[in-house]
């Protein structure tokens, strides 16, 4: 067909054939030349396809189909011509038309309607190849309309004498069922009959294939057919058939455990005897995924898996690992037994095998061995190619994070592991590591000193600043060092690290985190110097001991208390914060940051000016006092001291993890239209942006109450001699406002009895337990969603809430199909029963099935007995049904579809066929 242009020499003379087209395309280089050739050919095709000569039209359509399929050219405009050719008397032209249709038609095309009659005609053609063409086309482009209109024709083909047609009709049914579930009522019985077509193995294979697909969507309806499948499992010697039947049993056994008992030995026999690896693997997969309760079967399966693992064929090794992965959830021993192979596979050349091995290793992780396994994996990560290295890191991170660090007991170790990961050259998981560093900081108080130590290690290493992948991690380190600076042994060192020259390599967003951290370090430093009683001491003891959610007024109180009782330990500590050290630090800050005060990045500029404002003020006052040692006592009264106390109070409140749904809980204020189109505001915005940058100069008032503004606000007001209390309240208000949604907040003090304290720095293990307890509590909380109080572990609560949504819903169509199947199957059985004593009524009594359905429940036990009797009867019934079909099966089908289906009754029925 493709070689010659066809019978007419004239046509081939004037028309390019498909071969010519292909040669032409190959002659032109890909790119412009080729696409211009193709568009030229398309013009030709457009002309030729309108020809009245069907040979010319057919060749044109062939060329177009080729271009469509392999070069992505649109051919929807030629749909009508394809339909036209399907009705050609010439087989070649018909075939061309059908090929074009099945490769290019969309379900939504109007032209499909025109094809219905032709399909019907070809389906009933005496030429099996014509029927094949129609079936093939239908299996791809089937629509609900086609399925409804052509069901009777396909029904007829289901018992065709020609096996080649029968198997294709069966394969086509799947598509028909999915488009038009009511077709099940018509065709199902005959489909079941084909399960007995032992004469032709391909027909049987197609039938079990269809059942396999149906059962994978909704297995319950097919349990009554278990005896048939069992028989096939015993009798069939065809691997393809056996594989499909095994898959069916894997689905059924999940619903009917008694089936498992019956087939498990049979499957083991196949597993032992079969030479075909595909069948053996399917047996293994069936056993370990559905029959894992049968110890002996699993043992045998694991032996087979081991054979696969040790095979030289990579495919088998890959499948072996997959099998192991399936065993892992229920029989971890199997994985542990093959530990060496798994670990060795981590360094395999094949990426697939490496990934499977990694998954297996991860499945072995528990709280006892997580340290050891991570050590091994880090070793592999260092040796692996960048891609796999990151894969390893990713799975380590996600496994350790699972259920809020469920398996981590030693958080000090974990934090240093995170730092170690950060230093791996190819590490691209900066984002996740950043998240976890901060997350752990917020959740696990006991680990904060270690976190600060690790953060310091990262910050002071100038080499790390050169690698863009690590910047995110550095950002976390900087944040942690600023937020928890009170745990630092040497704040001065951290300040130096934060201000080192190479920080100019950081992107602005991260640099501003650095600068904000310097602000925190500086205020901490000044606080410790100026107000020693509440310095290190108070921060170490007080802040840690105070429940996460102490209210502002309460903290005030504590401060006043401590004010009166300045302890001697505070005085000792003061040695670190000498006048000299303070002056040094202020100089360092001012010299390093002054150049940045003119930065083009507003975020940096703003924060730098905040820091500078504080530093310069402090410098003035402290150097004034420099010579007057005796006046040191009055430090408390300095303006700086007042501000510092305020800032410190504001900064001392802990951050907590934020619930995923926190944002949703913020009510939308009245009158705020979120979906409004803001494009009109462009001109306005330009102005506003200008004014923002102006507003950051220290003397001008701040216009926008953004996050950092409240701080700079404070400075402004300080300079303009306004009452500091006002800025204080701004800050407090801000914190309060957001505190509503930062989880460990105000309420905890009252609720501390129900809420285990999670902040004893001496008992890390306790802390983890607390964490676990917290998560448990949050799970309990899930049951009373009315509780509106935010809690630290609401994060978990969210996940619990989200679960049901992700559960896969069965397709509506599947429901319809299975409903119909149940109806037909149980109807069949019922009518069989009734047909035995009283002759065949079935042909005429479809409507009675429904009545009889209610009886089936009680009679299920008897059904298997009737089964054998029924066979003959069924055959005869089929004939009667066939004749009936000819008269008006279609209407019948519709009528039955309209009738209500009594599915609920049948759902209760679990027949014990095999017992």
């Amino acid at each position: 067909m493709s070689g010659g242009g066809g019978p007419s020499l004239m046509d081939s003379l004037f028309q390019r054939t498909l071969d010519d087209l292909i040669k032409g395309i190959r002659l032109h280089l890909p790119g412009a030349a080729q696409s211009s050739f193709i568009s030229k050919s398309l013009d030709e095709i457009r002309r030729e396809i309108k020809s009245t000569d069907s040979q010319t039209k057919s060749t044109a359509l062939q060329k177009l189909t080729y271009l469509h399929s392999l070069h992505g050219i649109d051919m929807s405009w030629a749909a009508f011509h394809a339909v036209e050719l399907t009705s050609s008397p010439s087989f070649l032209h018909k075939k061309t038309g059908y090929l074009a249709a099945s490769l290019s038609f969309r379900p939504s095309m109007d032209v499909l309607l025109l094809l219905t009659n032709q399909l019907r005609k070809d389906l009933s053609s005496t030429n099996q190849h014509e029927a094949s063409l129609a079936l093939e086309c239908l299996s791809v482009i089937c629509t609900p309309d086609f399925a409804r209109d052509l069901t009777p024709d396909i029904f007829t083909l289901l018992s065709s004498g020609k096996n080649s047609i029968r198997k294709k009709a069966i394969a086509c049914l799947l598509m028909v069922f999915s488009q038009y579930p009511d077709a099940v009522r018509v065709c199902f019985k005959r489909l079941v009959d084909n399960l007995e077509s032992a004469d032709n193995v391909q027909t049987l294979a197609a039938t079990v294939g269809v059942f396999c697909e149906l059962a994978s969507k909704e297995p319950r309806s097919y349990i009554p057919l278990a005896p048939e499948f069992y028989r096939i499992l015993v009798d069939s010697r065809n691997n393809w058939v056996l594989i499909k039947v095994l898959k069916i049993f894997a689905h059924l056994a999940k619903l009917e455990p008694r089936l498992a008992k019956k087939v498990v030995e049979l499957i083991c026999d196949h597993m032992k005897q079969s030479e075909a690896k595909s069948l053996v693997f399917e047996c293994v997969r069936t056993i370990v995924s559905s029959f894992y309760e049968y110890e002996f079967a699993v043992k045998l399966a694991v032996v087979k898996i081991r054979e696969f693992l040790l095979d030289s064929d990579l495919n088998l090794r890959y499948l072996g690992l997959q099998g192991l992965l399936l065993v892992a959830p229920n029989h971890l021993w199997a994985v542990l037994e093959n530990k060496e192979v798994v670990i060795k596979s981590l360094s395999d050349v094949d990426r697939n095998i490496k990934l499977e091995a990694l998954r297996l290793v991860m499945s072995m992780v528990s709280d006892d061995n997580v340290v050891e396994i991570c050590r091994v994996l880090i070793g592999y990560a260092l040796k692996s190619d960048p891609e796999f290295c990151n894969e390893i890191l990713r799975s380590m991170l996600s496994t350790c994070y699972r259920n809020v660090y469920e398996i981590i007991i030693d958080f000090d170790w974990y934090v240093s592991l995170l730092a170690e990961m950060a230093r791996i050259p190819h590490c691209q998981n900066g984002e996740e590591i950043e998240f976890q560093l901060i997350d752990i900081g917020m959740r696990v108080k006991a680990v904060r000193p270690e976190l600060v130590r690790v953060g310091r290690g990262l910050l002071i290493d100038p080499a790390l600043l050169g690698s863009p992948f690590i910047h995110r991690i550095l950002s976390a380190a900087a944040w942690v060092s600023g937020e928890y600076v009170k745990f630092s042994r040497n704040p001065f060192e951290i300040m130096e690290a934060l201000l080192q020259p190479r920080t100019n390599l950081l992107p602005p967003s991260i640099r501003s985190v650095y600068i904000h951290s310097t602000f925190k370090v500086l205020s901490f430093f000044l606080h410790s110097f100026l107000l020693p009683g509440k310095g290190v001491n108070s921060s170490l003891s007080n802040f840690v001991d105070i429940e996460p959610g102490f209210t502002y007024s309460e903290s005030e109180q504590e401060f006043t208390e401590i004010d009166h009782a300045t302890s001697s330990s505070g005085l000792n500590k003061r040695d670190t914060f000498t006048q000299e050290a303070v002056v040094n630090m202020l100089t360092l800050v001012i010299t390093s940051l002054t150049p940045l005060a003119e930065s083009h990045d507003v975020e940096i500029q703003e924060r730098v000016r905040n820091v500078l404002g504080l530093a310069q003020l402090a410098q003035q006052e402290i150097s004034c006092n420099h010579d007057q040692k005796e006046k040191m006592v009055d430090k408390v009264d300095l303006k700086t001291s007042i501000i510092i106390r305020l800032i410190n109070d504001a900064l001392s409140e802990d951050f907590g993890p934020v619930s995923f749904s926190a944002q949703e809980r913020v009510p939308v204020p009245n009158g705020l239209v979120l979906e409004e189109n803001l494009s009109k505001l462009d001109s306005l915005c330009a102005d506003v942006q200008l004014s923002i940058s102006e507003s950051f100069s220290l003397v001008k008032p701040i216009l926008l109450p953004t996050d950092g503004d409240s701080i700079s606000n404070q400075q402004n007001e300080e300079e303009s001699e306004t009452s500091p209390a006002e800025s204080m309240s701004l800050l407090a208000e801000h914190r309060k406002r957001h505190g509503l949604f930062y989880l460990p907040s105000d309420h905890n003090k009252n609720a501390s009895s129900s809420f285990p304290p999670a902040n004893d720095p001496n008992q890390r293990d306790n802390d983890v337990e607390d964490l676990v307890k917290l998560t448990e509590e949050s799970l309990v909380l899930k049951r009373k969603p009315s509780s509106s109080r935010p809690r630290p572990v609401v994060v978990k609560l969210d996940e619990g809430e989200r679960l049901p949504i992700t559960v896969k819903k069965t397709d509506e169509n599947d429901d319809l199909i299975s409903g119909a199947v149940r109806d037909v199957l149980l109807g069949n059985e019922a009518s069989l029963r009734s047909s035995n004593p009283s002759g065949r009524r079935k042909g005429e009594s479809h409507s009675k099935d429904k009545v009889e359905n209610s009886e089936t429940g009680n009679l299920s036990k008897r059904r298997s007995k009737h089964r054998n009797h029924g066979k003959n009867v069924e055959d005869k019934e089929e004939n009667s049904e066939k004749s009936k079909k000819k008269s008006g099966g279609r209407h019948k089908a519709r009528r039955r579809a309209d009738g209500g289906i009594d599915v609920a009754v049948q759902k209760q029925v679990i027949p014990d066929f095999l017992l």
Binding site: I73, L103, R106, I141, L174, A206, W240, K247, N315, I353
Partner: protein, 165 residues
Amino acid sequence: MIRAVIVINDQGKPRLVKFYDYQPVEKQQEIIRNVYGVLCSRAENVSNFVQDSTFGPDTRLVYKTFATLFFIVIFDDSENELAILDLMQVFVETLDKCFGNVCELDIVFNFNKVHTILDEIILGGQVVEMSSSEVVKALDDITRLQKNPNSIVRVPKSISGWQGR
């Protein structure tokens, strides 16, 4: 079920594209590009399976390299990986029988016939024939039908044998 059968050459040019559930042609091209990208990055002498998420979480991809061509089958968990490998072997064997030592050019220039062969083996994503000789027989019939539009009678087997292309 089988979702798609694709043959592409080592340059990424598609030679045979058949999807068993409707995909717009742009999507098809995109899938082919992705698949080619994945296959290119794979070393030689590695396993034939690719865990592929192009079609959803449960789909897998099996490929086999024959000379300059990648044969690719995409399928879901109703199929067995090794059985699909066998199926590809059957497909290639059939091509070999039809074209006699099949090479890329045969597939390039026999677009229609290759589709006919494939349709005899897989229909609607279901495997309907696993024996290459049966496929060849059916194909002979079809070729004869195409040549003599009027004869729908099966010619006796003895005359069969592949005639030209």
